[in-house]
Symmetry: C2
Subunit: 338 residues, 2 copies
Amino acid sequence: MSTMEATAAKIIDQPIVDQLVAHTSVEMEEVNKLLLSRVGSHVQMVPDIANYLISAGGKRLRPMLTVAAAMMFEPKGQQHISYAAAVEFMHTATLLHDDVVDESDKRRGQDAPRKIWGNAASVLVGDFLLGQAFMMMVDAGNLEALGILSRSAAIIAEGEVFQLTNAKDANTKVDDYFEVIKAKTAALFEAATEVGAMAGGANLADRSALKTYGAQLGIAFQLVDDALDYGGVSGTIGKNVGDDLREGKMTLPVLHALQNASTTDAQFIRENLGNQDASEKAVSRVVGILQSCGALQTTLDRAYEHADLAKAALAPLAERNGARILIEIADYCVERAA
Amino acid sequence: MSTMEATAAKIIDQPIVDQLVAHTSVEMEEVNKLLLSRVGSHVQMVPDIANYLISAGGKRLRPMLTVAAAMMFEPKGQQHISYAAAVEFMHTATLLHDDVVDESDKRRGQDAPRKIWGNAASVLVGDFLLGQAFMMMVDAGNLEALGILSRSAAIIAEGEVFQLTNAKDANTKVDDYFEVIKAKTAALFEAATEVGAMAGGANLADRSALKTYGAQLGIAFQLVDDALDYGGVSGTIGKNVGDDLREGKMTLPVLHALQNASTTDAQFIRENLGNQDASEKAVSRVVGILQSCGALQTTLDRAYEHADLAKAALAPLAERNGARILIEIADYCVERAA
């Protein structure tokens, strides 16, 4: 067995996320260097907050997707590195602003930056990172890719405003929910894989396939997140379970239950939606309702459907470098909530 | 007298701001149309908030500067219109985020958007407008101009974080203050006039002159704002006077007084800096101290110096279309606080 075959065999043995990490490790090293070089500021609070989020715990799934999308084709120069770094900065900016918007105390199991440095700093450092993301894109010199990322920035924000408008509104429709998650989550996944494909020099059809892959993966990813917020299909109660309930977010598990649970149970959910002080006992009962009326399983089923659409989009490109990993990642994204 | 001469004579009779408005009115009509077409969203809260700020009361000084800078040369097509609209969107996004950062209740004499729609919506609609600003710049198709505006977005945010870091810190230096206002205010003025000149096809020397003009005007503008926050040189007590004191902002009037007022007076200022509940009586006494120790006059003197630098930058271009208005605007910006 050649060294290369040995390496390949070794990669295949690992869980799929580790395979993605190994597959993109050389490029992600470059991405990380670029990120670190761009959070620098003599205003110490800027790198403090940015590094707190960027260095600590993040999976860097989105920039890995950009790099992996590029590697399926023939990336030249550093464009895919710049795009990946810009995607990660946009994501980090979104996290900083989301925590302020949701008044969250925790992020990735740690104190949210706004708990340490305050809301004001979180808003401003998010703005700084957004500006830096666009500067990196300008340096990369491709107007079309810049258009894709700036459009996704506007779409993400618009989707989050829509989500805000729907909060605690029991008349929210399932279609509204899908519109929200396509905008707030899938838009960046979609942009990440599309600009990756562009940096790889993909033709229009292949670029469109990667764009679809990213969009569908993003939808699946958010569906799973929304199921996990109620403990996943198993309904396991852990920390942060019930955050969406307390914030009044009209996610699919809740929407499904409001339509399918008994009148009494639906009423109980309505009473607790948006109640910041809902007790653990109340959350437990809501989780029980969601589980028994099939809301969590239905959410996961929908996630599998979108993961399948993501995989189908890449099927014609399955023989390309690393495509298998991207295809398998789709299932992994859903299984974490099973 | 020809119609054109009559129009010119009529314009010269008017106060200088009205002259700028008249000079740029045809182009600003286009800018306004573009702004309105770009705040559209089926998520009603987006145009509601954006129009509340954009339609109501704003002077639109920054986009007028972009248009006027372009008109000094030979603007072709719609590029100067797009740039001006992008500048106004960036400014509006900054206002939305600033109100959240400063916890302000008032904006342009009306309730701040965050008082009506909340902090969350203000943060998100600001992000939406930033995304739209970059999309407009992408549509305009000039990477260099995009680089200038995205860099200014990062600089503005960085400057505001620096201001936050300095809040209530009596060790803040005058140099720190100037660094903050160059970033948080002058950077956008500078970008506004530079991209305007670019859209007009200015050569590098003329573009650099317009860039300097914008930067110096922006510094003068903020110095004046900071004097006005304590009632201007006359120390007139009106609504919003003392906001900076209560927020603990280390502006030049305060920095000057801390160094030049009596020990007792300086101590009184220190005690009230950052005290959200400082009484009107306390604010009155601080204003009295700032006035008697020359802090407000010094601030205005510095503003005149920077206005002079702005005027000097345009002197070699004084014969160009509308240059006289831009030159006179510099003095006007300062006189409003005299």
